[in-house]
């Protein structure tokens, strides 16, 4: 299917990788040509990250072969991959946050004189490199002082600087905002012109169509095909990824659409008056009713998460009043919120929610058990029953509750986290970026679920970077900008993405 005239720089054939109980890759072929951006597509759990880790020697293959520049190679580990000219940004940010920004870019490749690291030179080079990515950072500050998005950019800077023949970016954009993505694309285009082959993974279809030349689709560890991006319409791409007709998806959307029009005459569950926290979010008013979906829209870093954390007691408000069911409360910690029927599913599933070594079942049961108190264990049969129900309802894959959560793909981990909160039957569910970094199919499932929950009377505070999604689901939308709630609007017919973008871009429109 239409390949460039040159020989591929990388050719993988018949790659097989088996994990206990899962065939993650089953005879997958993959080719990468110099000077192309090649998108690797597939739902969560399709095997994208595994293919990348096989290629960089993190995992050993159980079959197939890898050729670099025509020669068969065996890549022993990330170090060997780096030496062979493959540089990688892995899906989860993989840097050392205790080290400085400069060190994270250069560690292992520090400029030296007589074995001694030249710190001054290193800092200067790091600052220059970041400047080219339009980042103005204090390179001698520990990386931990920067946000996840910035850390991701630093990881990209590191990968780009390891001048490579092959650059791999596994979902680098999931935590970046629009201007950062633009920045990244500029760098990618430049590298492409220099003849670097780029493997790119993203769940944002628009990004794929903007940047990629060709794409390879995987599904359930199997190769579906290799296509020219320009020749494959989006709808077909999605169908190939999920393996079912898009009509199914659309019916889900209709369902969500209908729920949006419900009016919210119900009793208020939560009322915030002038609640705020210095440096995190300016004082705001917000009321959430039973069965109401309130969307929080705003750019990355506009204070969405901060607002949500205040309502959950994860951070303490330093001013204002909060009442739940009409009774004033001061939330000192999340337990207090949980007792009052509030649940919070965090955006940062890796560090704040999921415990990788525990099984799917244990992770799901966790919050319910905590709510009951540890002295009253939930009987195993009851556990299995509940877990089975939610594994099915959310179609968590693989549907094996005893598998350690660590081994699940990102989207499925997100579903586990959601299941954990759902079984506590909260009255107000706060979900922060539930659909970040997960595929279209899972996304639609989660959206449908939110709609159903709200039909059932649960109030939902839905935080998302994707306006479409907020618009589709919410009864009411609160728009944040620069850590301030600038506008609250009912999601009526006249409200669309442009209207909200305008508010985000310019502040309150009144």
């Amino acid at each position: 299917m239409g390949e460039p005239a040159t020989d591929p720089v990388l050719e993988m054939t018949g790659i097989r990788k088996v994990f206990p109980g899962v065939v993650a890759l089953d005879g997958v072929d993959f080719r990468l040509y110099p000077g192309e951006v090649h998108a690797l597509m597939g739902e969560n759990g399709a095997g994208k990250s595994t293919l990348i880790k096989v290629l960089t020697g993190v995992y050993e293959i159980d079959g197939g072969d890898i050729r670099l520049g025509g020669e068969q190679v065996r890549i022993a580990g990330p170090l060997a991959a780096q030496k062979a000219g493959i540089s990688t940004v892995y899906q989860e940010v993989n840097l050392c946050t205790n080290l400085t920004v400069a060190e994270n870019i250069f560690i292992g490749r520090e400029p030296r004189a007589f074995g001694k690291i030249r710190w001054g030179v290193m800092r200067k080079r790091a600052a220059e490199l970041l400047k080219r990515l339009d980042l103005d950072l204090d390179v001698s500050a520990p990386l931990s002082t920067y946000s996840l998005a910035i850390q991701q950019m630093v990881a990209i800077a590191r990968a780009v600087d390891i001048s490579a023949r092959v650059l791999i970016l596994d979902e680098p954009t999931s935590s970046l905002d629009a201007s950062e993505v633009e920045q990244l694309f500029r760098v990618m285009r430049r590298l492409k012109d220099d003849g670097v082959a780029i493997l790119f993974v993203s769940h944002f279809l628009d990004q794929i169509y903007e940047i990629s030349d060709r794409l390879t689709v995987l599904r359930n560890g199997q190769l579906i095909g290799e296509y020219r991006t320009a020749e494959l319409p989006q709808v077909q791409l999605v169908e190939k990824m999920i393996g079912k007709e898009l009509a199914t998806l659309e019916s889900l959307e209709d369902k969500a659409q209908r729920s949006r029009t419900r009016s919210a005459t119900a009793a208020p569950i939560l009322q915030a008056k002038g609640i705020g926290r210095t440096g995190a979010i300016a004082p705001f008013d917000l009321t959430i009713h039973e069965g109401e979906v309130v969307g929080l829209a705003g750019l990355l870093g506009s204070g969405r998460t901060e607002l949500a954390r205040l309502l959950f007691g994860a951070d303490k408000a330093d001013q204002g009043e909060l009442s739940i069911d009409g009774k004033p409360v001061t939330l000192r910690d999340p337990q207090m919120a949980m007792k009052r029927g509030i649940a919070f599913s965090s955006e940062n599933r890796r560090t704040e929610g999921i415990i990788g070594d525990l099984s799917v079942r244990e992770n799901i049961i966790l919050a319910l058990q905590a709510a009951r108190g540890w002295t009253r264990p939930i009987p195993r049969r009851k556990q299995d029953e509940i877990v089975d129900k939610y594994v099915k309802a959310l179609s968590i894959r693989p549907a094996d509750p005893e598998r350690p959560v660590r081994n699940l793909s990102g989207g499925n981990q997100q579903k586990v986290l959601l299941a954990r909160w759902l079984i506590t039957e909260p009255r107000l569910l706060i979900i922060d970026e539930p659909t970040r970094g997960i595929d279209v199919g899972a996304k639609a499932e989660i959206q449908k679920l939110v709609a159903e929950l709200s039909d059932g009377g649960m109030a939902v505070l839905f935080v998302s970077a994707e306006l479409e999604e907020v618009l589709r689901l919410s009864h009411k939308i609160a728009v944040l900008r620069d850590r301030r709630l600038v506008e609250e609007l009912d999601n009526t017919a006249g409200v669309d993405a442009d209207r909200i973008m305008q508010t985000i871009a310019s502040g309150a429109t009144s």
Partner: protein
Amino acid sequence: MTVMSPQPVTTDPAINPRRRVYRPNTKYIPILATLALLLVMYLGGLVNYENFDQPSVVVNLFRDNAVLLAVAVGMTFVILTGGIDLSVGAVISLTTTLTATLLQGGWPPLLVLPLVLILGALLGAGMGAVIHYFRVEPFIATLAGLFLARGLALFINQESIPIRDELWTTLSDMRIPLGETTKTTLTAIVALVAVLIAAAVLAWTRFGRNVYAIGGSADSALLMGLPVARTRIAVYTISGFCAALGGVLYTINSTSGHALQGTGTELDAIASCVIGGVLLTGGAGYVFGSLLGVMVFGLITTIINFQGDLNAAWTRIVVGVLLFGFIVLQRLVTRRTR
């Protein structure tokens, strides 16, 4: 539609999310706290006791704690990677017994010296390899090392063994003048040199930075292409070597060897590192901090000696209290940086 904020929307730079929120140089807080503590203790001594102002009070701190200092240097490397080495005390005892026995048996001292140092390093390397390749918890692997080394030492000889070797007695009697009136022992100098070398290695070499990276996140270090296996084995090797060096320093100080020497030194060394601000979870701290930690240890003992009527158990009690204090301090500091 309702407008929630009547004020004009400003872009206050203080809350601009694209910039970092807050940053004092938190990484130096623990070490500065230890330094302040040392000064307070020293001033307290000056006020309360006669003769506390003699330079020898400070100089003797190093003489009396040379062994602990050497061990703490190695321990710092290990803790920085997020590991722990419980075997060091036992390695000391094995080294002292073996050195004394071999010297008594007439082995040439210039052969015995490198031999026991290499043995210590090899023991460390062995534990490091087990920890890395078999994914054994450092706690368990080095606990096994502890039993092994202590057992070997007791097997060789359970009694105290005197050393009459000429080189050893000369080294033992050697005094290095510092200024006009004060002198110190060779062992103190050796331990201090070890500190300097370690500090340079940690700050200025790739190996040193890899140690910090592994302590920050071993998984990330691996994915960044750093030589995790080599580095991890090396830190235990260094720790084993430093413990053996501590053992040798002990035999020089006391011109004897004893299988029960060094019991509990591992805990003193860990405590010194923690008091000196080395984070037990790895990735943060300085070898100079460990030096300060050892000095705190020494100064407590000195003060108790000056006081005269206090039980030596007070050293432990005070150290216990300090440990709590410093661990809480580290929590607070690391929480604030996040």
